[in-house]
């Protein structure tokens, strides 16, 4: 029994954090939103240098075959710094899907960060995020895995994200194995998405604490007022108790535990809720400056809003948890 990150894992998180902190993500996000993903893709390639894009890929295809815990550690840092792009798709779900199905030819370029991938998987993932930027677009529908052909483009609440409806392209694999691989990929994607949400929530808490300590009204820092303090305390509580669910889900997925689906759903629900609470509090603490696209609050808030319904809505995950509990899988 051990839920603490190892020294290597802490070092890994620190290296990702350092890289992103030095990458001017504010400008990267602005460019990405304006239709210029090149600076963002350069950050993705630098992250590949740390192994981030190789985590879920087997060693013989240039990957690290890392534990889902490492995936969570990485995605939490990516969420904290608001990296644009299809993170859960390209780093977690697509590598899982292709590895499980033995469809390995594209894996080396994914591992190296040369290609970014995205995925549609209705009903959990009806739209493929950032299909215009991705060099590999997949459509996993029931027992069929195909190339996906983007046909309709919609803007997302998150300006840095564009989502696409997919038309079925060339068939890559079919049969029950696809359904199994798809389920596993969706769980790892949901896990990665939950980690991004937790990281984003933490970023908003840190920003809000800083701002509340500086912003003066009525002759004092607004962080002295209990209404502000208590709201941020509730944010801290939500994040604190979502984290163990996230890491336990990663452990369960890594060990193929019978409870892995249930635990992933619990992590997604809790991280989404904690992030949403952080976003609302951050907006309220910042006031009007938070309600502009100039500060970082709106960027994180809209990313959180886009990720909450992705990879299975909270309602769908709650339904899955109850189904598992009713099955007697209560631990």
């Amino acid at each position: 029994m051990n839920l603490a990150a190892s020294p290597e894992q802490r070092q890994f998180a620190g290296a990702i954090g350092d890289l992103l902190a030095a990458s001017d993500l504010t400008a990267v996000n602005r460019d990405w939103a304006a239709g210029n993903p090149a600076p963002g893709l350069a950050v993705w390639r630098r992250l590949a240098g740390l192994g981030v894009t190789a985590l879920a890929i087997p060693p013989n295809f240039g990957g690290l075959a890392a534990d889902p815990v490492d995936l969570v550690i990485a995605c939490e840092a990516l969420g904290y710094h608001a990296l644009p792009g299809p993170v859960a798709e390209s780093i977690a779900a697509v590598p899982t899907l292709l590895s499980r199905l033995g469809s390995t030819e594209r894996l080396p370029e994914l591992a190296a960060g040369a290609t970014i991938a995205t995925l549609g998987a209705p009903p959990q993932l009806p739209y493929a995020a950032d299909a215009d930027v991705a060099g590999l677009v997949l459509l996993a529908d029931g027992e069929e895995l195909r190339l996906g052909v983007p046909e309709n483009e919609w803007p997302s609440v998150d300006e840095t994200r564009r989502v696409f409806g997919l038309r079925a392209g060339a068939l890559l694999a079919s049969g029950p194995a696809v359904a199994h691989a798809r389920a596993r990929a969706l769980d790892l994607g949901a896990l990665a998405c939950a980690a991004q949400l937790l990281g984003a929530g933490h970023a908003l808490l840190d920003t809000s604490v800083r701002y509340a300590g500086q912003r003066v009204q009525f002759g004092r820092a607004i962080g002295q007022f209990q209404a502000v303090k208590h709201r941020l305390a509730d944010v801290a509580i939500g994040l604190e108790f979502a984290r163990p669910l996230l890491y336990a889900a990663a452990v369960a997925l890594g060990g193929d535990a019978a409870t892995a689906g249930r635990d992933t759903s619990a992590a997604k629900v809790a991280c989404a809720e904690a992030a949403q609470r952080a976003a609302r509090a951050a907006l309220q603490v910042h006031g009007a400056i938070g309600y502009t696209m100039e500060g970082g609050v709106a960027r994180q808030l809209t990313k959180i809003r886009a990720l909450i319904p992705a990879w299975g809505s909270p309602a769908a995950h709650r339904a899955r948890i109850m189904a598992a509990l009713a099955d007697g899988a209560v631990s």
Binding site: H230, V251, G255, R318, I321
Partner: protein
């Protein structure tokens, strides 16, 4: 990271589970505040102690097993899953004992802990006063030096277990000239000593769970001063962390309740009522979060966590407790107003956000001590 129990943990878990299955009384014991209930709960504690299970995490020399924090959590899980009786001596076991281990002398530990482990002495807490609740440092009860000890006078209130306990611990003002946090001393006193009057108070829910204590020249020998004279605030705050954290409300309690709630949903829930189903699921998620958080804390190197982290825990479990029981009462429908375990649990849960430092006090601690927000003017 892993969530596996090693062989020693599984063996311990199996022993506890087996012993509890064979020994937990089939029905509830009479209430703690009745003479029969008091005797029955003490007898149960003696039985637990004889099995070496009353204080598993204590050193063996005081009646424990030197068990790790993880084993202690496992014990609590099994205890709550088996429906074990309320621990009559929980104020002593979970609040005073940690303070004795940190601040007590060897002589105090030898004299007090073995009797506590067997519940030969049952302990009550005596923190609050009519004018000192959230603002605990406003304590006015005095301890005046006398030959060989101290004389206590004043009034304590909301004293848990005072009706059925033998002894109590609390803070007393020994230096009225010092500032509010200074000049307090942590003292242990006998509830049957001359000059002590205990008046039970009927709680919401009907039980005499707490009491007022009137003190009029009550003698306390020097050997019952815990820590330095004048250092009572610091000594007491080291107990507060235990009172707010998993020492008082172990995850096992909520895991067991969440399991019963899921069972209740399956028996009584309307499958079409997605909103209520989601509340059941959310209660289960929260209980699971608290459990995993406890395991993570138990596995962390000692001294790593902030002493103020217990404030996060306290708000979380007290709100979880109420939400879980309110959900159960909704599932029961019109039956919910009738006496029963869920109603009793709900009424008990309602006190959670108040005692051990109100949740408002905890949120201020979290904001100032953990997040680093500026202190409010006091």
């Amino acid at each position: 990271m892993n969530l596996d129990l090693d062989g020693a943990a599984r063996t311990f878990q199996a022993e506890v589970r087996g012993w509890l299955a064979a020994n937990v009384p089939p029905g509830p014991l009479p209430p703690v505040d009745t003479p029969e209930g008091n005797a029955a709960h003490r007898a149960w504690e003696r039985k637990l102690a004889q099995a070496g299970l009353s204080v598993v995490a204590w050193p063996a020399e005081y009646g424990g097993r030197d068990a790790s924090a993880l084993h202690r959590l496992l014990f609590e899980e099994e205890y709550h899953a088996a429906g074990g009786p309320v621990r009559i001596n929980q104020n002593g076991l979970f609040l005073l004992a940690p303070t004795l281990f940190t601040h007590g002398t060897a002589a105090q530990r030898d004299r007090l802990l073995p009797r506590m482990a067997r519940s030969d002495d049952v302990w009550a807490q005596a923190w609050s006063e009519p004018g000192a609740g959230s603002d605990l440092a406003a304590i006015r009860s005095r301890a005046v030096p006398t030959d060989g000890g101290w004389l206590l006078s004043g009034q304590k209130t909301w004293s848990s277990r005072a009706c059925c306990a033998d002894r109590a611990f609390g803070l007393f003002r020994t230096d009225p000239a010092a500032g509010p946090h200074r000049g307090l001393t942590y003292l242990l006193f006998d509830l049957r000593a001359d000059g002590v009057t205990v008046r039970p108070i009927r709680q919401l829910g009907g039980d005499n769970g707490f009491a007022e204590i009137f003190l009029d020249g009550v003698f306390v020998p020097d050997c019952d001063v815990l820590g330095e004279v004048g250092a009572g605030w610091r000594v007491a705050m080291s107990t507060a962390g235990h009172e707010r954290g998993i020492s008082l409300r172990s995850p096992g309690r909520f895991s067991a309740a969440a399991r019963r709630l899921v069972d209740l949903w399956q028996k009584a829930g309307d499958p079409a009522d997605g909103a209520l189903r989601d509340r059941v699921v959310d209660a289960w998620i929260a209980a699971q979060a608290y459990r995993l958080h406890g395991f993570a804390a138990a596995g962390a190197p000692p001294g790593q966590a902030s002493p103020f982290a217990a404030s996060l825990t306290k708000v979380f479990w007290s709100e979880l407790d109420i939400a879980l029981h309110e959900t159960a009462l909704e599932l029961l429908g019109p039956q919910a107003e009738l006496p029963g375990d869920w109603l009793a649990g709900y009424l008990f849960a309602l006190a959670g956000p108040i005692y051990a430092g109100t949740n408002e006090i905890q949120r201020t601690v979290i904001a100032e001590r953990l997040l680093g927000l500026p202190r409010e003017p006091r």
